[in-house]
Symmetry: none
Subunit: 255 residues, 2 copies
Amino acid sequence: MIVTENRIMLKKERQAQIIKQINLHNKVLSSDLSLELNVSEDTIRRDLNELAQEGKIVKVHGGALSKSYNFTATQAETYAYDEKHIIAQKTISLFQDGMTILCSGGTTIRTIANQLPENLNVTFFTVSPLISLELVEHPNTEVILLGGKLSNTSKISVGGEVVAKINEIKADLCILGVNGFDEDGISDSDYEIVQVKKAMIKASKKVVTPMISEKLNSSLRLQVCSAEEVDYLITELPPEHELLAAFHHKVKHIL
Amino acid sequence: MIVTENRIMLKKERQAQIIKQINLHNKVLSSDLSLELNVSEDTIRRDLNELAQEGKIVKVHGGALSKSYNFTATQAETYAYDEKHIIAQKTISLFQDGMTILCSGGTTIRTIANQLPENLNVTFFTVSPLISLELVEHPNTEVILLGGKLSNTSKISVGGEVVAKINEIKADLCILGVNGFDEDGISDSDYEIVQVKKAMIKASKKVVTPMISEKLNSSLRLQVCSAEEVDYLITELPPEHELLAAFHHKVKHIL
DNA sequence: ATGAAACAGGCATATTATTGCAAATAGTTT
DNA sequence: AAACTATTTGCAATAATATGCCTGTTTCAT
């Protein structure tokens, strides 16, 4: 539905049309807008940049996206943000270009996904739709979502199909969100999730477990793996902190 | 004998004319007004500035706009909420316990997912992590997320693996968000998405396309399917609305 | 890897704004 | 009615804005 009644279109008017189109289609291509609004693509690009500047849309290569479509973790709604921020930075220091990284779910992992540096060039596999949406915001990462039945409680893909799929992967790192961790290792309370996590560990060269220190020395009913299988234990505390003392001869590295 | 037509127009009178024009067309160009009212553009500009000062209009480069023309960010984000609500209700009326339903992405579909009744007992397959998260909040629905490479523009799983997976499914309904729709059928602008949508249509007994009426008669580069392949066309309009007339002999049902 | 599309920045042009000023007009006072 | 003042209008010169085109570069998809 193109407005052609008037020969000349005011800039504001044109920009309003653009916003309308974006809200309609969730995305627009500069080339399409150029045709529909009878102005050059340069003008459209300038419009899109202005609108993006004003925060009304999200500019991408070739066009723009609706803003409501994007959602990323905000500082306010993340519990223990400061601690998780520290953990995220430590974890990210392990990432290197070209790596294949397998991620589970959880808010700690989500913070990591959110804080990835722009230029990082890695491939992520994840069973968490939430994490996948966070990761896909980063232009240089490739995100592969592992599908399956979605668990109502943990919001991750579970089931035999996911496990089978994970078994086909050969990852460099496994970033494992944990619910219970003590000297016996990682534990969890949901059978399905345990199966997925076990598969993830098996599929990866190194296992990284970022967690807030308050989860240390908690244990749940089902065993995921032993502490010895953990390559990197990451908390917000300095490695020499007394709370971590008991783990130094168990896990391979503490950050 | 004409004596009054070329009399001098007072300033107040002229400004009243300007307001009238703006209320009529939602916008005015300084150049047009100058011609219509037989005064210099300078005068028009001065008038527009005064009226803008008084808050009666919004002055922009080249003319002025009606105050209601301006979009605010919040208006933009909740754009067409009411319409989408109506569409969601109509779409949900097609759902029955025990069904298997295949969903694409998009904000219209997201609204549907959000408004599902609590007691509905169906299995959803979706390629959209965002939709999956919305669906999984409903206790009685089973959600199966179709994994694959995540498209960073559309945020849905794409690629051969997804298509292969969809081909294994036998669904009752396919709820297809559309970006372009006209008498030739459904069109889209992204090659990968078209592949996924084609597979979805093939895997389903009935194809349902909920869309805002503004998308009617818009068309994009790539063809997804013909209008004849659509079983239910759902818009916020009553089925007998004239805008839908052209589609009655094309699609099977219009709601 | 390679070719096409999209981008950024600069430049040229046309349109629109602003300002100061003088002429015209309206309103007021004598 | 004449004179005076304030307002309005048009004009010209200058500034600002908007747009399209061009060039070299970046990004993207195959």
